[in-house]
Symmetry: C2
Subunit: 115 residues, 2 copies
DNA sequence: TTCATAAGTAACTATAAGGTTACATATAAG
DNA sequence: CTTATATGTAACCTTATAGTTACTTATGAA
C-alpha cells in the first residue's frame, strides 16, 4: 500500500461524519446517497463530498442503478492497514505493550488500598 | 475513546511526514526536536508543527531535559484504535473478507488461461 | 409529455493545514 | 560574561477542507 493511499484512508477515517457514513453503508449495503443523507443535518452536497473522500480512499464503492447510486463499504483498505499495523508495529507492541501493562499493573498496585 | 480523540489520531496518521516522525521517535526514544529535523528537508518549525499534531493525538509524549526536549512514542492510542477495529469491524471482516477471498478466487479462475 | 425525484456540477465562503521567515527565550559551554 | 545551540512564538502566505446555495442533468412515474 503506497503512502499516498494510506494518507487517503487515514484522512477519510479522520472525520466522525465519514466514520458514521461508513457505519451506515456497512450495515445497509446498497444505500443511495439520499438514504445516507437522512442520517445527517447537513446538505446532500456535503454528504456527497464526504462520499467522494471515502471513494477516493476506496473505503466506499458505488454503482449506478437507474437514477440512484448504490453504495457499498469496502473493507480491503482497512484490512491492508490492519495487516500493516500488526506487522510493522507488532514488534513495538511486543515490547511496549508489556511496559504499558506493567505500568498499569504497578499503578493498580499503588492504588490498591483505594480500590 | 471519544470521537474527537479518534479524529486526532487518524488525522495525525494521515501524513507520511508524521508517520515517518513516529518511526524515528519509536526507533530512537528520547530524540530531540533537532534530531528529528535531520531526517527532513523542511524547516524545524514545520517539524515542530507536526510534532504538535502528534502530541495532540497523544502519539508522541515529550519531556524537557535541559534545553532539549526528549520525544517518546506512545503506542496507547494506536492500541485503542486497534482494539476498536478488531471488535467493531471484526464481524464485518468475518463475513466480507470471505467474500473478498471468494471474488479473488473467482477472478483467478476466470483468468486462469492467461496466467 | 409533464412532473417529481436522485444525482451531479459550479461558484462562493470561512476555517484549518502546512509551510515559510523573523524574532525571542532559555540553557550549555568557553 | 559572551556566545552558540535548542526550543518556542508571531505573523504571514498558499492550498485544502467543509460547508453553503443555485442550477443542471438524468430517470422514473402519472
Amino acid at each position: 500500500m503506497k503512502p499516498a493511499d494510506m494518507d487517503a484512508v487515514f484522512h477519510a477515517l479522520a472525520s466522525s461524519h465519514r466514520r458514521k457514513i461508513l457505519d451506515i453503508v456497512k450495515s445497509m449495503p446498497g444505500s443511495s446517497v439520499n438514504d445516507v443523507c437522512k442520517y445527517f443535518e447537513m446538505s446532500r452536497i456535503a454528504v456527497m463530498k464526504h462520499l467522494k473522500v471515502l471513494e477516493a480512499a476506496n473505503l466506499v464503492i458505488s454503482q449506478k442503478s437507474g437514477r440512484a447510486r448504490e453504495l457499498y463499504f469496502n473493507a480491503v483498505p482497512i484490512q491492508l492497514i490492519y495487516d500493516r499495523w500488526t506487522t510493522e508495529y507488532s514488534k513495538f507492541w511486543a515490547s511496549h505493550v508489556t511496559d504499558i501493562k506493567f505500568k498499569a499493573e504497578a499503578k493498580r498496585r499503588a492504588h490498591e488500598r483505594d480500590d
